[in-house]
Amino acid sequence: MERIDIHPTHKHGDFKLRVGRPMPFGASLVPGGVNFSVFSSYATSCTLVLFKRHAKEPIAEIPFPDEFRIGNVFTMTVFEIDYENIEYGYRMDGPFNPQEGHYFDKNKILLDPYAKIIGGRDVWGVTPDWNDIYQHRSRISFDDFDWENDRPLEIPPEDQVIYEMHVRSFTRHPSSGVKHPGTFAAIREKISYFKELGVNAIELMPIYEFDEFEHSRPSPITGELLVNYWGYSTVGFFAPKAGYAATGKLGMQVDEVKALVKELHKNGLEVILDVVFNHTAEGDQRGPTISFRGLDNKTYYMLTPEGYYFNFSGCGNTLNCNNPIVRNIVLDCLRYWASEYHIDGFRFDLAAILGRDAWGYPLSNPPLLETLAFDPILAKCKLIAEAWDAGGLYQVGSFPAYGRWAEWNGKYRDNIRKFLKGDGTVGDAAQCLQGSPNLYAHQGRGPATSINFITAHDGFTLADMVSYNDKHNEANGENNNDGCNDNDSWNCGAEGWTDDSGINALRSRQMRNAIAMLMVSQGVPMILMGDEVGRSQNGNNNTYCHDNELNWLDWDLLKTNASLFRFVKNSIAFRNAHPVLRNKYHFQNRDYVGSGYADITWHGTQAWNADWSPSCRTIAFMLCGQHAKAGSVEDNYIYVAINMHWEAQWFEIPGLPEQLRWHISTNTGCASPEDIWEPGTEPKLENQHGILLGDRSIVILVGK
């Protein structure tokens, strides 16, 4: 007997129809057909537009009958549709009155904001047909990937080491030697590299569908096409970037991404997505109408009383994140990626915007942030906030966390950079090394709240941080006005590349010092792709528009900077080997296990006597291994001495329990390979009472 709920009741031409199910939004496969559902508060009518894949003109336009509208949702099931080869969109009719916030225009075909696959930019860098009446095309996906037994890894946050990377940049360089450069598939070929390095999470810069041709223009200097390379400008929140997929031209990007996640999980690596909910690719009133603007502008965007776009994102518009409708799409999106793609966590770009109300004021209890924090499907996902926005709201240490949110710790970056070049204070550095308890402990937030980083995609690379005092962004064609001006960098004596061996040796040491501090800090370390091999952007601290060697990882650096790679690899291995570096709770500065030592003790050039004065450039600390993970596991004693003075300093070393001896793990003052030892191979220190640290160098000892 035929089910009544799959029996067509209406017809339009050859298409058989029935009133749809309003939930879920988007296009869903249902018995016998496809269910379409789209929301608009103010539209007066809606038409479903169907194309054959890649066709210039629609094959059908099916108006939603009045009785197919439920509340503010237009919903319709279309039967016997060739769903694999269909592209669809919507025409919305309604008022066009920008002052009132309405931009309805039935001449435009709109992308479904819930589209799971988006066509139109199928292959990276292929110039679009600008005469195409529908540039970004909604397609229908299938949720039947064979995950076998895969599930998110749920690595404890404090045990993570994050590698921030760009999908295309990672393998696009010819030196990568992969079969399909610049794609998700290529990352699969490089999994052994992550494993050798020792990271256990990769954080992918945006992979939601974006348009690399947004604001594309020729470089005034080279004539080369400058593109939207980083992709912080979302076209569709549910769809992976087709141009990043080797199978994008076949429309199989969903499978390719899932295959990548599955393989990463098999190898013990988590996947964190950098997600951009603060604005969309539609920009301000001068931008293209792609989806939200034409569907329900007044709901989706923050608007001034005059109907202009608030711009807290610095990108033209601001998504109205705490509107209940918009909250739901964000939640639906993240739930989809967590459940359907097995994503392990999300890093929210300019997340402070997610805590603003419709007029831009910061909310004390932002519903969206609270909803995400308590969502049952996202319960095990890492939620990481970039806790500031382009409107001046800076919430590092005060981001509404609900016991769940971690933060990119911008203060860690700034303080460590300052201390590294000799401008900071030991007090600030000491807070950073402990997981920033000054920011988080009083709220009951643990060290893993702090995502520690010294470099990220925004700003200088590590090699450039020690090679440039000033940004050199001329290649961006904005008269060097773009990018951050406060870099806390130091060129070590010459601006840019030099043959001066003394300067190069100092730079090499400073890079090692940065990595060493990052890896012995409590919290979650994050390293930027390529820093492990000294990748440079030639002093450009904002390479958002370059699809070229400024961004691409040159794999030959693995050979030319092999000693740096070895140092980073062993530094990560050292962290992974010592749970006392990865505590869940902040130090208590006392002995609560009866070891005779406090969990952490501070020292200076004299043992047990740290110099906290503002002019001091030296600090040391010792971690008692018996307090590792709150005393639940036993570890070695760790002693870290940091000399950021321009002269060598003798450090007196604190004594160990009777049967233990200090062994040397790291000494950035030594040339490779004696700058670092593999865990387990550390030689015993000759003088157990003290050690001379060279100028601007770090020593790490293991007591065992």
Partner: protein
């Protein structure tokens, strides 16, 4: 070229020969042959793809279906797949769920 799927059983193997283009419109034919093959409870499913010119994502879906329908103990051989199809299987990771071979050793597969 019209799609065809032809099933034959031999020893412990069920062999399906595919020709033409495998897309959403033809996937059902392939799926039906898989279902028929499953009834014979083979140890091996052998897919002869030498004459298959194109496989859309619907084809991948049937491969998943085959794997799940047959069970994890049944080896799926993909024989003589053309370069584009092989690449699709590689790029989407499906290659790991099958045994891709250039030639088909009937004695070894069918009698083991």
């Amino acid at each position: 070229m019209a799609f065809t799927a032809t099933l034959e059983s031999s020893g412990h193997a069920a062999k399906i020969t595919l020709t033409g283009e495998l897309d959403a419109s033809s996937a059902q034919i392939f799926k039906e042959e898989i279902e028929k093959a499953a009834v014979t409870k083979p140890k091996h499913l052998v897919l002869m793809l030498q004459e298959l010119d194109y496989m859309a994502s619907a084809g991948l879906r049937v491969l998943i279906f085959a794997k799940q329908k047959m069970g994890v103990d049944v080896d799926i051989y993909v024989v003589g797949a053309q370069e584009m199809i092989l690449e699709t299987l590689e790029k989407t990771g499906f290659i790991q769920g099958v045994i891709a071979v250039d030639d088909y050793d009937s004695i070894e597969v069918e009698n083991v």
